[in-house]
Symmetry: C2
Subunit: 256 residues, 2 copies
DNA sequence: GCCGATTTGTCCGTATGTATC
DNA sequence: CGATACATACGGACAAATCGG
């Protein structure tokens, strides 16, 4: 369970929105009312609300109030504000994913690999190819590179299970953040061999660089997603001062 | 210029990070130091910092401090935390985009269109097809639907220029937020006709539902992006309490 | 292992500004 | 104009994690 109060309030409000306790398209109680009802300070409530805004559950408008703009899942279930990952999809569909290690090897980053991954040239790496299945259907082909000096003792056996459980529980590495880029690329021969793509010749590629608490990027992973089962969700919020900020300013300018 | 103090502090810190005033991979000054240096309260500083964390400029670790993890643009310029839009790319490359209206029409949402767009069946809509060029190269094919009762008086002439300037400045509609979904789809005949896609038969599709301050979704736009020029960026941050939250929890679980 | 200093994380109360009605 | 509501900003208090002695 979450310890922080603002997380609890966030979950309470989210539940009330999803369950229809707050009617769709209608105004929520004012901050003042919610503070009394929930027994918290204004700052704490606002922190919970700002998360709901970021995820597209509510609109806030100065001088007016907060409006519930949650829409209960049109077609597929509607999780907001982030990537729907493989394991999330699996859990949501009551299906369990499986994984298979195609390749476990050691490599040293050459100039080309350094350029692609962001590791320094000459860095010793583990290079692992893994295939993720959902319901016996292969959906994601992963190319992962781990720094050998960080992921010490990593073996093919461990990769068959959970690499991250090993890194966190055995090596006590704490993962801090992960930078990701989504692009669309032509399918390689390997993609076509393992992913059953029909007549599509492109796929969605999520490249991520993951950092530990020492600030070192210890992992680069390229996830190649079957195009029919890839779905990224986001909510862009209007920013008061329309700088060359990126969020919605960009999105809206895009349409001019 | 931005009015809010936390926005100014955010820009100041971001500039110092990007310019190398704070060395890469090193710790930033502590909150206490920055507060004195910048002349602000702790909350205001923390608000600015949290934005930098969200965009992958810095890591924060309780008991340790803040580390600069910005990487100055490996290959393409590196804007973090959001979609790189058409106009942003254009501006960044010193190139100007152009737009062409392919179709301007009125339609009424039937069952199928209602399902796809989220408008109620029977809603009168403007349906506009527009092609966006970058440097004479067609990159994005947009299918836009606007509610006629909201976007009153919209004409093909206006669509040749900026629809949003008309909506905001003439009709005084305030845009609050926009829900977006990124998928990969097979190219249609129209895509192949207008976008010069080579031998790719798929493209990146960004579907967005945009809301005004009355909480009504007044626009649905499907942006079909040339696969070679699509790039979505994100930074996932570790959350202390590992709930069935979505951000990094999901990303990491994905790798199990 | 303990203790204290440092640093970030959470929470509260209050005051003021600004947009809406 | 006043009342209401959200937005910004400040200062203080305590908790939790880290690190060095």
């Amino acid at each position: 369970m979450p310890k922080a109060k603002y997380e609890q309030l966030y979950l309470i409000l989210k539940e009330k929105i999803e369950s229809g306790t707050y009617p769709p398209q209608e105004m929520l109680p004012s901050e003042h009312m919610l503070i009394e009802e929930l027994g918290c300070s204004r700052n704490t409530l606002r922190r919970a609300v700002s998360e709901l805004v970021r995820e597209g559950y509510v609109q806030t408008m100065q001088g007016k109030g907060m409006r519930n703009i949650f829409q209960p899942s049109k077609q597929t279930t509607f999780t907001l504000g982030t990537i729907e990952t493989f394991s999330e999809s699996a859990a949501r569909n009551q299906q369990r994913g499986a994984s298979k290690v195609l390749l476990f090897s050691s490599v040293t980053a050459d100039a080309q690999l350094a350029e692609k991954t962001g590791f320094a040239e000459g860095t010793p790496l583990f290079y692992i190819q893994r295939l993720h299945y959902l319901n016996t259907r292969p959906l994601i082909l992963n190319h992962s590179y781990f720094r050998q000096d960080v992921a010490q003792g990593l073996t093919r056996q461990i990769a068959e299970g959970s690499i991250y459980r090993y890194l966190e529980n055995e090596l006590h590495i704490s993962i801090i953040n992960s930078k990701r880029v989504v692009t669309v690329e032509k399918a390689t021969l390997l993609d076509l061999q393992y992913l059953d793509m029909g007549d599509c010749n492109c796929l969605a590629v999520v490249s991520s660089q993951t950092y530990n608490s020492d600030g070192v990027m210890f992992e680069y992973t390229q996830s190649r997603h079957h195009p029919n089962f890839f779905r990224f969700q986001d909510n862009a919020v209007r920013r008061s001062s329309a700088q060359p900020r990126t969020k919605l300013g960009g999105t809206i300018d895009e349409k001019e």
